[in-house]
């Protein structure tokens, strides 16, 4: 077999490696200069996702993310948004199972002011009672909006059955009764417990040359955080195989949902193997599952299979949209496709196609400062300090036979949690 070669020329031309700096309290700064970017992204990451909630804290991580925008000790409610947007910037935040992040996109000249505002906002939230009650309403509306989308209900049910006893099986938005019972004091304790030095990373990406953002960040509010240690090791995810059928009102087409356990995010080799395997099976019209189920048999409107890298264990999630009567045929075809891929060697053109899809997807993601800040921020947050090329090198380390024996084998349909959702 020929040795693996780099298929894509210079991997990431023009990009430096990120700068890393650790403050005395354990908080980290990581930055990457993108000289052509019109905006700078300031991205604050904290290991405070829903996986860190105690039983009574259901939905707290996400609710806190909302409350942060309701003002801090020195910023009135709404003042942060008004000032950031008046500077020509925009901001948002997102809560995941593992972590939460707050980010601002801002023109370079306004970045120093935005940095101060962001850290002020995130590190010293006001959590005032009246605003708390009001924002609870907003979170409940968010929950209701999500429950009105039958597909989201189905995915939540799949996670519940695939991840029993694990935080990944519980909704990030929280349970309604728990949300109604939350109090500002408990939220303040949650913030105090989790938003500490050893659990936070500030990522900067954009046209940083000539700014003093890094030294400002190192000397500002980030340095005054309590030096909380990082969290203890997380509970590893073990996906529970099984089957369920669910009738959902307002569903117009059936869904076949499948979940497989995959290597955790810290296992870069395993994650890139998962990316290659899922792309081989379901990315593009010529991928195995799309070609068979949609183009040839015409059984599905769509079939998607994506790897979701997560800290306790990643998930590969499949979704097929089809007529309810075709569910058995769709399941049988998925099984056949998997057996075929396990029985025959992957040939050179398909191998090249898959490598290029995964490689380009990574390279295309290195353009926008928001993507880059997210990539380096989340990596450093979880103690991964590989070079930017490392994911591309990890792709090169796979060959078709190993992919079959390891990554593709792990997507055995018999090892999946399977949910059939049909119109009620």
């Amino acid at each position: 077999m020929p040795s693996p070669s780099r298929c894509c020329g210079p991997l990431l031309p023009g990009l430096e490696q990120p700068n890393r700096r650790v403050l005395a309290n354990g908080a980290e700064l990581v930055s990457l200069d993108l000289s052509e970017a019109p905006l700078i992204c300031l991205d604050f990451w904290c290991r405070a996702g829903s996986v860190f909630e105690a039983g009574s804290e259901s939905g707290m991580a996400h609710f806190l993310e909302h409350m942060v925008f309701k003002g801090s000790h020195s910023l009135a409610a709404g003042e942060f948004d008004r000032r950031i947007e008046a500077l020509g910037g925009s901001s948002n935040a997102a809560t995941g199972f593992d972590d939460v992040h707050y980010h601002v996109l801002i023109p370079p000249r306004a970045a120093p002011e935005a940095l101060e505002l962001l850290l002020d906002l995130v590190l010293e939230p006001r959590l005032e009672g009246e605003a708390f009650a009001m924002e609870r309403q907003v979170v409940l509306e968010e929950l209701a909006q999500s429950e009105d989308q039958p597909e989201e209900v189905a995915v939540q049910q799949l996670l519940a059955m695939a991840c029993p006893g694990h935080a990944y099986g519980l909704p990030i938005l929280g349970r309604r009764e728990a949300l109604l019972a939350h109090e500002p004091e408990a939220m303040a304790a949650f913030h105090q417990r989790l938003y500490g030095g050893g659990r936070c990373v500030l990522a900067l990406a954009g046209a940083l040359a000539g700014t003093d953002l890094e030294s400002r960040a190192a000397e500002g509010a980030l340095a005054s955080l309590d030096p909380l240690a990082g969290p203890p090791p997380l509970d590893p995810l073990r996906v529970q195989p099984g089957e369920r059928r669910l009738e959902l009102p307002r569903l117009e087409a059936a869904r076949l949902l499948m979940a497989w356990g995959q290597p955790p995010a810290r296992d870069l080799h395993g994650v890139m193997g998962g990316d290659l395997a899922t792309s081989l099976l379901a990315e593009g019209r010529r991928s195995r599952l799309v070609a068979r189920l949609r183009e040839q048999l015409q059984l599905v409107e769509s079939v998607d299979l994506d790897l979701h890298p997560m800290e306790c264990g990643s998930l590969a999630l499949l979704e097929a949209v089809c007529d309810p009567d075709d569910l058995p045929a769709v399941r049988a075809a998925i099984h056949t496709v998997w057996e075929e891929v396990m029985a025959e060697p992957v040939l050179a053109p398909e191998w090249s196609r898959v490598r290029r899809l995964v490689t380009n997807s990574y390279r295309f993601g290195m353009e926008a400062p928001g993507n880059v800040a997210g990539l380096i921020g989340t990596g450093h947050l979880w103690g991964r300090y590989e070079s930017l090329e490392a994911p591309l090198e990890a792709i090169d380390a796979w060959d078709p036979e190993t992919l079959r024996a390891e990554a593709l084998a792990s997507l055995d349909p018999r090892r999946a949690a399977v949910l059939e959702a049909v119109p009620a």
């Binding site: 993108l34 907003v138 409940l140 909006q145 183009e295 409107e301 053109p349 995964v358 390279r363």
Partner: protein, 445 residues
């Protein structure tokens, strides 16, 4: 803000007239290309709604010497993304690839346009997929409310349907009809925009791919009329209608809107500033009043897409069924405020800052740069249209915005989707407010 170049000359034109604008951009070695051909779902044939989207989808299923599999092998084998879709005013073909793959892939945009295979079996697959998507979209209450509002605002007119089409009509479109549509592509103009790492021989590469058969087309022309470009049947419903669709949901979706002006119209800028003020970002008026101060909604905003005809201006939110009346009343008040009060200077200044900020947000990737430039050029506007607007925005005051609102937003229609009790409360609030016909408060011309 510079406005030194009044009208960007295309980098070059191909035989027959296709203007090509190429913008080099350092960074990762990527090429983004966008070919916009005027004439989209708004130009669907009578009783053939969905034809342009079906054509666009089938264009990706074979062209020139490449059948569907060979075309997909070429594109996916290079790890590239190639798509074609119908928008309301145009067909849009987009390519993103590693710059080194330009010679193999860029010519596909012209081959798909000039020599699509439109094989009957591929048309059938694409049609079936579109029908399934239309069906599945009905799961989304926002989609239902939006489709209903389009019918209220545009009736059977060009903008009255989703680009995917209308089920009964989509089923009947033949491969021959698609062939006729394909043969007419470019008659209303087209433009190709490239951004990223540009190879030296772009012009000969593209010229060669025409294979000696010039494509007769030209830079699209501007339209500044306040009505859709070619209404073919019926009349948009008279303003101020209410429509309600019952669904067994927790929330009520509300959409309040009306048709306004094309992107090239002088009032497009004041309306854009009003949209920015009302709906853009967490400092926006609707976000603050309806979410931050009342906790009425998680998702609230204003949609106002760029169109060659009468672009919709739509406020939207979803709220719990038991708060339907409050939300309806509040939404109507906010619409009325646009007509009755000029924006105060601080609010206007914030709207201007956000408008300028948006411009930078839309220039972060090659694909975004190509998309934004192709948009203005496809509307027949100068390449520096955005810069001109940014300069003009500094001169508009609150009164100018109010006058534009009175000209274009005097009446609005309300589309509701949700459970019966919420529909009843919202309808009562609508009637108590006297609907949304404010023509009596209009200033004399």
């Amino acid at each position: 803000m510079t406005t030194a170049i009044p009208f960007t000359v295309p980098s070059f034109s191909l035989s027959g007239g296709l203007p090509v604008v190429a913008r080099s951009r350092p960074g990762p070695e990527i090429l983004a290309a966008r070919l916009v051909i005027r004439g989209g779902s708004g130009a669907d044939p009578r009783h053939g709604r969905g034809a342009h989207q079906l054509l666009a989808g089938t264009m990706t299923r074979g062209c020139g010497p490449l059948d569907a599999d060979a075309l997909a092998d070429l594109v996916e084998g290079a790890g590239a993304a190639l798509r074609a879709e119908a928008h309301e005013d145009s067909l849009v073909l987009g390519l993103k690839c590693a710059a080194t793959d330009t010679p193999d892939l860029l010519p596909l945009l012209l081959a798909m346009t000039r020599r699509p295979l439109l094989a009957p079996d591929q048309v059938a697959i694409e049609r079936q997929l579109n029908l399934q998507t239309l069906q599945r979209q009905k799961e989304d209450p926002y989609q239902l409310a939006h489709d209903q509002l389009l019918r209220q605002l545009y009736g059977e007119g060009p903008y009255g349907h989703d680009p995917l089409g209308v089920e009964g009509e989509l089923k009947a479109i033949s491969a021959d009809q698609l062939g006729d549509l394909a043969a007419g592509l470019g008659r209303q103009g087209a433009v190709l925009v490239l951004s990223g790492t540009l190879s030296d021989n772009l012009q000969s590469l593209l010229e060669d791919s025409l294979e000696g058969l010039p494509w007769t087309t030209h830079l699209p022309l501007a339209s500044t009329e306040g009505a859709p470009p070619h209404a073919f049947t019926g009349v948009p419903a008279a303003g101020g209608s209410l429509m309600a669709l019952e669904q067994d949901t927790e929330q009520l979706v509300l959409m309040l809107g009306c048709p306004t002006v094309p992107l090239g119209h002088p009032d497009a800028l004041p309306l854009r500033l009003l949209q920015t003020h009302l709906g853009l970002g967490m400092s926006s008026r609707l976000f603050v009043v309806m979410r931050e101060e009342r906790g009425l909604a998680y998702d609230v905003g204003v949609s106002h897409p760029a169109r060659c005809g009468a672009a919709p201006f739509v406020m939207h939110l979803s709220t719990s069924a038991d708060r339907a009346e409050e939300a309806t009343t509040c939404l109507l008040e906010e619409w009325r405020r646009l007509l009755e009060e000029p924006l105060d200077p601080a609010a206007l200044e914030l709207a201007r800052a956000k408008y300028i900020g948006q411009d930078a947000m839309g220039r972060q990737t090659c694909a975004q740069i190509a998309e934004r430039l192709a948009l203005v050029l496809s509307h027949g506007l100068p390449a520096d249209h955005v810069e001109r607007c940014l300069a003009r925005a500094a001169e508009l005051d609150g009164t100018a915005l109010q006058q534009a609102a009175r000209r274009w937003l005097p009446q609005a229609s309300l589309s509701l989707v949700g459970p019966a009790p919420a529909l009843a409360s919202a309808t009562a609030a609508w009637e108590a407010a006297g609907g949304m016909d404010l023509s009596r408060s209009r200033t004399p011309a």
